[in-house]
Each structure stands twice: as structure tokens, then as C-alpha cells.
């Protein structure tokens, strides 16, 4: 029998066509969900909104060709952590393995230590890596890349003072 104090993760999966048109809807969902269901503060809700937007855009722009889908999964353990998992189809113009992606992020993080004036390249090393505690890349069987970005709710300043986290549920949204 499960411990009654054990926190059940809330898992939400969304499947999107590879079109940036849908990103604003994902951002709205991320902001509302993070504010209302996770225990994170409003500041972190906005930060997580940016993290999700950058990961989804990378999957759409680089990892999946038109007509394919990207899969976004939110895993929230209320008052503990929030994780977003983004999977592309591996059919896009930039095919990187998980090892290549991990190296690319390391290179870009070191590149950003000095004042960086380039047009592109801030999303993963500055926004995603700075605003999450874990950033992992995994190869998907059959092709594609899975990116996991996780933030732990540890510090008092990260938390909503009087939390109104809702009862966990588990549902799946697909198109």
C-alpha cells in the first residue's frame, strides 16, 4: 500500500504539429499550470515558460521536419520539482545525437562567459541551462532526441508563500 504522504506526480502530455504557430498556446499553458499546480512562484512560472518555449522551438526548428510532431511532457511533483520533456522526431535539418548535444551546450556555455553579441545560440546555454537544475539529452530508439529539463523547488524564494496546489491528476492531451 502506498504511503499516504507520498506525492503523486502530475503528468501532462501534449503533442504538437511542427509549427511555431502553436508556441504561444504552449507558453500560456505552461504559465498557468506552473502558477497553479506546482508551488513555484510567479517569477519561476515566467522562467519555465521561456524554458519550454526554447526547447519546443528547437525541436520544431532543428529536430523535426514539417508534417511531423513534437511531444511535450510536463511532470510535476507538487512542492518538489517540475520537469519538462521534449521529444522530436529526428527528421529535421540538424541531426545531433545526445552526446553531440551535450557537447554543444558545454561549448556554448563557455562561449557565453564573455560578452556574446551573436544573433542566435542563447536559448539552451543561457535560458534553459541557467533556469533548470538538470538538463539531459537522450537518444530515442528509432530516431529523434529527447531533452529533459528539471527544476527543483528548494529555496524559500522559489515558492509561493501560501501554496494552493491542486490535487494531482494524470491526463493526456493529443491532437
Amino acid at each position: 500500500m502506498a504511503d499516504s504522504n507520498e506525492k503523486v506526480p502530475v503528468k501532462i502530455t501534449i503533442i504538437l504539429p511542427t509549427n511555431a504557430y502553436f508556441l504561444s498556446g504552449i507558453r500560456d499553458f505552461t504559465l498557468t499550470m506552473t502558477k497553479n499546480m506546482t508551488g513555484f512562484s510567479e517569477q519561476w512560472a515566467y522562467r519555465f515558460q521561456s524554458v519550454v518555449d526554447e526547447l519546443c522551438n528547437n525541436a520544431i526548428e532543428h529536430g523535426s521536419e514539417k508534417g511531423q510532431n513534437v511531444k511535450i511532457t510536463f511532470i510535476s511533483v507538487p512542492e518538489e520539482s517540475l520537469e519538462v520533456v521534449v521529444e522530436d522526431s529526428g527528421t529535421g535539418p540538424a541531426k545531433y545525437t545526445s552526446a553531440q548535444m551535450a557537447n554543444l551546450v558545454k561549448e556554448r556555455v563557455s562561449m557565453m562567459h564573455s560578452q556574446y553579441l551573436g544573433l542566435r545560440g542563447r536559448g539552451l546555454p543561457k535560458i534553459v541551462a541557467e533556469w533548470t537544475d538538470e538538463l539531459l539529452f537522450e537518444d530515442i530508439d528509432g530516431g529523434g532526441l529527447r531533452v529533459r529539463a528539471k527544476k527543483y523547488l528548494r529555496d524559500k524564494e522559489d515558492k509561493v508563500l501560501s501554496s494552493t496546489v491542486q490535487t494531482p491528476t494524470h491526463f493526456q492531451l493529443t491532437n
Partner: protein, 121 residues
Amino acid sequence: MAQATITFEDLKTDSEKKVKIVKIAGQLDESNVDDEAKKVYAQIEAGGTNLSLIFDFAGLEYMNSKSIGYLTDWYSKVSGSGGKVVIAQAKNNIIDILQVVGLTQLITTYPSIEEAKLAVM
């Protein structure tokens, strides 16, 4: 699709300085930023030397990493031609993302348009 609007206003100055307010409202993301950025580049090219820009972000709700890249490029072009670039009235979430990418070390942010005007005029 995210909606964004960009409008431009020329300020009268007592000197030879040219100052323009660039008011950006809505959300800048992958679906619209390339098209919207062209409008700013056109103003910078038409402005020539000594053009300064005040970005009024009072109505800006979201900007992604690519729009931050454009903002950095506009800063390089304007400052390379003898002008200044400042930001006014940005919301907390916008200042937060500009800070995390290090752009607030290059471009000063001001809480009001009046303070931003004083900095460039």
C-alpha cells in the same frame, strides 16, 4: 500565432541628435520575430549616424532568445554609428530574461520613458 506590434515615434531634440522611441507590444516569438525585426532594421538604416533608440517595452509580454539576439544586433549597429540604445518600462519577466542572457550589462533599463529620454538626449 503570437501577436506583436512595433510603432516608431521621432522625438524632437535641441541638438543634432536623432532620437526615436520604438514601442514594442505583445509577444515576440519564433512565429513573428523575423518579420517584425525587419521594421526596426529599416528604421536604423534610414536613421544613419548618431541615431539613438529608446525601446519602450511597457506593452511587451514575452520575448524569446531570437528576439534578444535581434536586440543585441540593433545595439551593435546603433552604437557603432554613434548612437545609444536604452530600454524603458520593461515588465519584471522581460528584465529577468534580459539579465539571464547578460544583455543588461550592455543596454541600460529605465523604469520610465522620462528617465530613458534623459539618458539619451
